[in-house]
């Protein structure tokens, strides 16, 4: 989409004319003519509702204090309604808006509206106050003061849905301590709230949210709730987990999770536990906020409870969660955190879970999550990682979960070291899938890595370790090992030295594998290793030649020719790249290497491939042949 920096005149005029319009309506807000003011208020309101961008720009103009004055100075109901609605919209899901609204002293003005005789004014005031209370910045409500409690109950008793909803909202967001919970219960709040359960949709949802807050970690409150009308309301909440509205299902589930975590004895019935788990799992698929909250709810439910973890595992939780994580779309940090924590809990005690998880090739995603900008997500991924890795009985760095991961900080090397070590251990697992996944993750970590990281990694693996990996019985593991090696030697010329460690042990092994008629995918990675090595010094290039044409050779075992004739274009391409690097004219031994390649039939073979089907290969071959011509080849 073109931005306002585009040179097109219509776009730049759009930006400035919209700015002008906003400034114009803003000035009309201050008009002394009530009709003009009302019209301006309506205009602002209609522009900002649903429109975060406009909220921000009007905020910057200073609209909030202007509207606040309209609210405080006017007696006219229409102006009160429109200004309250506009302020409520500023506060709706927009933290900067909430801040501005509170700073402008709007809170007491809105409270005043609740006593109006005009129903619409009351509605507008109640709605806007509810928006404010959904934010963390809402003023603290002192339940301990008698007049506040009285006011709260007057709200809950109101016939007006918006007003009773406000009362419930205040409880849901302001009640934090056990003392507050106690005071509310003693005043009879539970009896008031459950009436709302039978009310309209919004009343039900408000009630469920506040119930969860009042009951949380308070066994006395829970027992009081369950005791109401011999357990009738507990049954109602349980029934609501099957409601048609997803948000209702979610809120009732969260309420039950709170009750379960506080007093599990009310949940002796296995069926209820099981359906709670499956309902939360289903809700994970909801794209909106309900799905985000469901993820955290699930992790809270199964935390430390092996029986529930088993239930979740049997309900296919791991596959479902991994599928969601793999969708590739931007997931809300809260959801990511919840999903990783759930996986962490699932893998905490059950070996089956860990194996399932590791077999799903999640390590790439995990490593990415370890780098997420949100600290909670990183921590959750870390705990998940630690728990999953338990299956190979790795010595756990217990401090890992307590340290906030930040790859730019000095601590990160330490953490990285721990993480890489774990992956290396995993690469020695009995399970080939785990080995493969670990190597894939390591391969990603080595891509464009700095020397420090490469050194750290190599010091843990060493030449012999690499030889084992490259000689792994499983071809897929061999392939990943070679790809890892390719990334390791890529980049700075010093990286190439790794393959020469211990008398060139690694390079020899690569050569050996390539001479064994490997599968195409493996051969591709192997040739890219040689390509990268051949991009180095004269010594490096000669060493590659040694691998390609080992002396003495009993029979002609020219794998290069075979590769050039492969059906896989990538293999042909990788082979040609190696040749390009070997005979690059800038190096002294290029001419002799060219002669050797010609004598072995490689250059003639390339001449036959000038019309290769793959464009990339064709271009590379042209490069080689032009280099070849510069050596005066006939």
């Amino acid at each position: 989409m073109p931005t306002s920096s585009s040179s097109s005149s219509s776009f730049s005029s759009a930006a400035s004319s919209s700015g002008n319009r906003q400034a114009d309506v803003f000035s009309r807000l201050a008009s002394s003519d009530p009709e003009v003011k009302l019209k301006a208020l309506r205009e602002v309101k209609n522009q900002i509702i649903g429109n975060r961008t406009k909220k921000l720009s009007f905020l910057k103009l200073g609209a909030v204090p202007a509207i606040a004055s309209a609210l405080s100075d006017s007696e006219c109901n229409s102006i009160l309604v429109q200004s309250a609605a506009a302020l409520g919209s500023f506060a709706c899901g927009f933290e900067a808006g909430v801040q501005a609204v509170l700073d402008a002293g709007v809170f007491p003005l809105l409270l005043r509206l609740l006593t109006s005789s005009d129903e619409k004014v009351v509605d507008a005031g109640a709605r806007s106050l509810r928006m404010i209370f959904q934010s963390n910045q809402a003023p603290k409500y002192d339940f301990l003061q008698e007049k506040n409690m009285k006011f709260l109950f007057s709200l809950l008793n109101s016939e007006n849905e918006n007003v009773s909803g406000l009362g419930a909202s205040i409880i849901a967001h302001a009640c934090g301590t056990t003392v507050q919970q106690q005071v509310l219960c003693d005043a009879g709040v539970l009896e008031k709230l459950v009436i709302l359960l039978d009310g309209s949709l919004s009343q039900r949802e408000a009630c469920l949210e506040s119930l969860a807050t009042v009951l949380k970690n308070n066994p006395e409150a829970v027992s009081r709730f369950v005791g109401l009308e011999a357990g009738r309301y507990l049954s109602s909440v349980t029934e609501l987990t099957k409601d048609r509205y997803p948000r209702t299902r979610l809120l009732s589930c969260l309420c039950l999770v709170v009750i379960y975590n506080t007093s599990p004895s009310y949940f002796l019935n296995m069926g209820t536990k099981s359906s709670l788990v499956t309902t939360l799992l289903e809700l994970l698929n909801d794209h909106g906020q309900s799905g985000d909250d469901a993820a955290l709810g699930l992790s809270s439910l199964i935390a430390e409870k092996e029986d529930l973890q088993k239930l979740a595992y049997e309900a296919n939780a791991i596959k479902n969660i991994v599928d969601i994580l793999k969708t590739g779309s931007e997931l809300h940090p809260k959801r990511l955190q919840g999903l990783f924590l759930s996986l962490a809990e699932l893998c905490s005690k059950l070996e089956d879970c860990r194996c399932s998880f590791l077999s799903l090739e999640m390590l790439d995603l995990l490593v990415n999550a370890l780098r997420h900008k949100n600290a909670d997500v990183r921590t959750a991924a870390c705990i998940c990682f630690r728990n999953a890795a338990r299956s190979v009985k790795v010595a756990v760095l217990g401090a890992l979960s307590n340290i906030v991961l930040d790859f730019s900080s000095p601590k990160s090397t330490f953490i990285e070291y721990g993480g890489i070590k774990q992956l290396i251990e995993l690469s020695k697992s009995m399970d080939p899938n785990a080995r493969c996944s670990a190597l894939r993750a390591l391969r990603n970590l080595m891509f464009l890595a700095d020397n420090k990281r490469k050194e750290l990694f190599y010091s843990e693996v060493k030449a012999q370790g690499f030889v084992s990996l490259i000689s792994d019985p499983e071809p897929t593991v061999q392939e990943q090992a070679l790809a890892l090696l390719r990334n390791l030697v890529d980049g700075c010329i010093n990286s190439i030295e790794f393959v020469f460690d211990e008398d060139g042990l690694i390079l020899d092994t690569v050569g050996k594998q390539l001479r064994k008629s490997p599968q195409a995918h493996m051969a591709i990675q192997g040739m890219y290793v040689l390509t990268n090595v051949a991009s180095g010094t004269e010594l490096h290039k000669e060493a590659v030649m040694q691998q390609l044409f080992p002396q003495p050779q009993a029979e002609s075992n020219n794998f290069m020719l075979k590769f050039l004739q492969s059906h896989e274009s990538q293999l042909r391409s990788a082979t040609v790249w190696t040749i390009i690097n070997l005979i690059s004219p800038s190096s002294p031994g290029a001419h002799d290497r060219h002669v050797k390649l010609r004598d072995e039939g490689i250059i003639p073979q390339l001449k036959n491939m000038v019309n290769d089907a793959c464009l990339d290969v064709k271009i590379r071959i042209r490069t080689v042949l032009s280099q070849s011509m510069s050596f005066g080849d006939n």
């Binding site: 649903g50 975060r52 409520g88």
Partner: protein, 242 residues
Amino acid sequence: MSLFRIFINQDDDDDDMATSKKVITREEWEKKLNAVKLRKQDMNTLVMNFLVTEGYVDAAAKFQTESATKPEIDLATITDRMAVKKAVQNGHVEDAIEKVNDLNPEILDTNPELFFHLQQQRLIELIRQGKTEEALEFAQEELAPRGEENQAFLQELEKTVALLVFEDASNSPVKDLLDISHRLKTASEVNAAILTSQSHEKDPKLPSLLKMLIWAQNQLDEKAVYPHINDLSTGQLQDPPE
């Protein structure tokens, strides 16, 4: 409320073979149907529910007078909702937005997808009227930020903006956006959102009952041959094939 309970007799010497089905003649069938008892007030409630949900205010009011059936919601709120729906159906989207905000300012503030669709419809209407300059301006000022705020809308956004690219939009690959049915789709979306905000179910019961009928017939087809209702609009029984 249970409205239909269909009784099917099964003989004791029933089929062993899965292929042979029981045959029920028209006479037998009608006899069984006549044995089912229904309450008039249940049917009235169904009708009222349909009228109210679909927004036929005058019809609902008249029906209330004539049948003494109480509407489940205040008919006055229906009028407001219908005004919004009608505005969208007639292409007056800005007007519709203002009306929705008067009814309940929370609806569009908490329904980003609906808000996006309304803005999208606004753009479509501007293009339909040939107001290209205004449309461009609107697209940049109002629609582009929606895409920035929410990545999920980008694909639809691109599709809509594509309308501006074609000389003859009505023959372009994205021409279905200009179709009147798109207005109806948006109108329906807004209607549903208002109903939900009023804690009313957004779908009438009648279609569900008809779906149940069709489903039940499909299920029964596996076991028996009997008179079908093939035309829902007439409800006529048609004899089973010989």
